[in-house]
Subunit: 395 residues, 2 copies
């Protein structure tokens, strides 16, 4: 499964590429649509094909909770079970070690947000941790029924062998922006040991599951600390993974995130693909592409669609809040430059009505639009790179 | 807008027909898909076209509650506002006089159900009436904000002129199976007076709204009382409507419903179309077609889909409860004889998973299947009639 760098932009890490998987090629930079439980919410697989979506990512933790990896394997793996015939990735459950653990205690996401008028990022603790963790692995409670699920590096490989995605990831410990350097270092070192255990387990399980050609990529951790990020990138790169994901805390600001990429990417081999986990605003993607990222996954485009926030190239901030009463009588499509099936047929007024009434059809129409926006946006980035330019957003 | 009877089955009232509307022809007998608020829940207009759905019905009351008929008219009527380019019907709000009024007090639907092991239909009162009614019209509270909305025969015509459906209906009073003969007679006589007022209002408003070619059909009432049904059919027929709908209580059993049709249909002109309001099980449709009904609307196929009940020609009772744990690992499509996009790609196991997880994509996949079932079922009925046979369900 080689990765080809088709063009590099001198003076930057940005590149145009093509990732070959057992289920087709992915032109990069690419957006990976999030199908947590095997389904992109409100969209069908035919929809995703028609939109030009290239690759999906499902979540190991959520699929363990239900329906279980054995059942997915019995039905042909993710490809057979879900009906998506293109490339699949699976996240390892490492993010849930954070999102159901420290993230709840610290009240924070991957990047701590500074609220308007405040000096420092705010913590909004939202509960107690559902996670306990030691050198063996992590126990995470099921969000469905409270039972404790055990995720070790070996078990996570076994599960992902059964799920059969084309690209799988090792268990890692994703830290919080509020973890100090000492804790972040200890977690990183554990993640490195887990990466070695994952590689061994991956080698031992060759032949298990429906997709023998799947690849295991490495995950770089280290929080927003330069020395840790460089160490982690070098260590994970030295283990010989065929591709890399950048996980964990990206700091307390957009600038921190940019620094993390600037420390990490140069330590990774140029000829291997680089995925940035869980990041996906228009602005973030442009900045990350410039810093050498090839693929991105993010639930925001589909989640925002369901909440009424639709993307548009012609709106300030590239967003339009459809719930606003100003759209009640607006006969225009969401975005007059968009070629999606929603914009070709439905007005803002109709979508506003369906959103306000909670009509189920709304969720799909909005989701298809935002995903088509992401597909076209990534296409624009690739066209800019193909023309030898770094992508620059209009100011 | 003529209606053509293409073939009659001797010895019965059944016929094959074609209804011409300003927005296309409807081959009858036909199923009218329910789009209460202008959208068939979980399906898009492109979906309905691809399924072969011929005609939709929206609800006047619900569209008055939101977004209001003036807004719909401003955006081109139902056709312009919703994006459905084929024929539209609108119900008058008369059913809500019942469903939000007597139906709540009596705890009953259009047909009172006898529960297993009981001798007589049971009443399940579920609240107080939201309706007050007199000779002028009906006040119905908004289910959204509690404000009182006034529906008179004239106002309901004005609203439907603005909505611009191809086939519209006069305000009627739909009675309950538990209303006695005296009340049912008084309600029927009021409905007849309202029908005359509606015809006058319809004539006066010619030119109002986006669809000047729309037709006003009459509604027959009279409960499950033979003399009343015959009187109502004759009276409404004599008013010269170009088509007819049969509304109101259909009694306390399937047999009562069959009798109502046997009393009513022969009193209606043979060359005019006949719609049965709110009825739509497979068994009911077959029996009603034999008794001369041309079109049916019913929310059940789409509502059942959302609840996990999927239609299949190969299951007992033509239904399969997808929530049943037996489908957890079932790799087969819902119905192996079905050509819908859901059955072509997805297993019962996947749909069971999506249903159990409440994944939004489930609702559309299930809805498309049940609607395709109804389209194919009506096609089978038409093929039987074209071959000179009455449709008979396998026992």
């Amino acid at each position: 499964m080689p990765f080809a760098v088709l063009k590099e932009i001198p003076g930057s890490e940005a590149r145009l590429g093509r990732l070959l998987t057992p289920h087709g090629a992915v032109e990069t930079p690419a957006f990976v649509a999030v199908a947590t439980r095997g389904s992109v919410r409100a969209a069908s697989m035919e929809d995703l094909e028609a939109l030009g979506v290239q690759i999906l990512i499902a979540n190991t933790y959520h699929l363990v909770v239900r329906p279980g990896p054995e059942l997915v394997a019995e039905l042909g793996g993710l490809h057979g079970f879900t009906g998506w015939r293109g490339p699949w990735m699976t996240d390892s459950g490492g993010f849930q070690v954070f999102s159901l653990g420290a993230a709840k205690v610290h009240g924070v996401g991957k990047i701590a947000s500074i609220f308007p008028g405040e000096e420092a990022p705010r913590r909004n603790p939202s509960g107690i941790s559902l996670v306990t963790l030691n050198e063996d692995g992590a126990w995470i409670r099921s969000i469905l029924d409270g039972r404790k699920l055990f995720f070790s590096p070996e078990e996570v490989i076994r599960i992902q062998r059964l799920l059969g995605a084309d690209i799988i990831l090792p268990l890692d410990e994703c830290t919080s922006p509020f973890h100090d350097e000492a804790y972040t270092r200890a977690a990183m070192e554990r993640t490195h040991r887990w990466a070695e255990r994952a590689l061994s387990a991956f080698a031992r399980t060759q032949g298990l599951g429906p997709n023998p050609q799947q690849e295991l990529w490495g995950i770089v951790q280290g929080g927003a600390y330069e020395e840790l990020r460089r160490t982690s990138a070098k260590t994970i790169a030295a283990l010989g993974f065929p591709g890399f994901a950048i996980g964990g805390s990206l700091g307390k600001s957009k600038e921190d995130m940019h620094h993390v990429l600037e420390w990490t990417v140069p330590e990774l081999p140029r000829d291997k693909p680089r995925h940035l986990l869980g990041i996906g605003t228009v602005e973030d993607i442009v900045e990350a592409v410039k810093r050498g990222i090839d693929t991105f996954d993010c639930a925001a485009p589909t989640r925002l669609a369901r909440n009424g926030t639709l993307f548009s190239f012609s709106e300030p901030g590239f967003k339009l809040n459809l719930d606003n009463a100003r759209y009640r009588t607006d006969p225009r499509p969401v975005d007059e430059t968009c070629d999606c099936s929603t914009c070709r047929r439905y007005s803002r007024a109709l979508l506003h009505h369906l959103l306000r009434m909670g009509e189920l059809g709304y969720f799909r129409l909005a989701t298809l639009h935002n995903l088509r926006f992401m597909v076209r946006f990534m296409g624009w980035i690739r066209a800019e790179l193909a023309a030898g330019r770094l992508p620059e957003l209009p100011r």
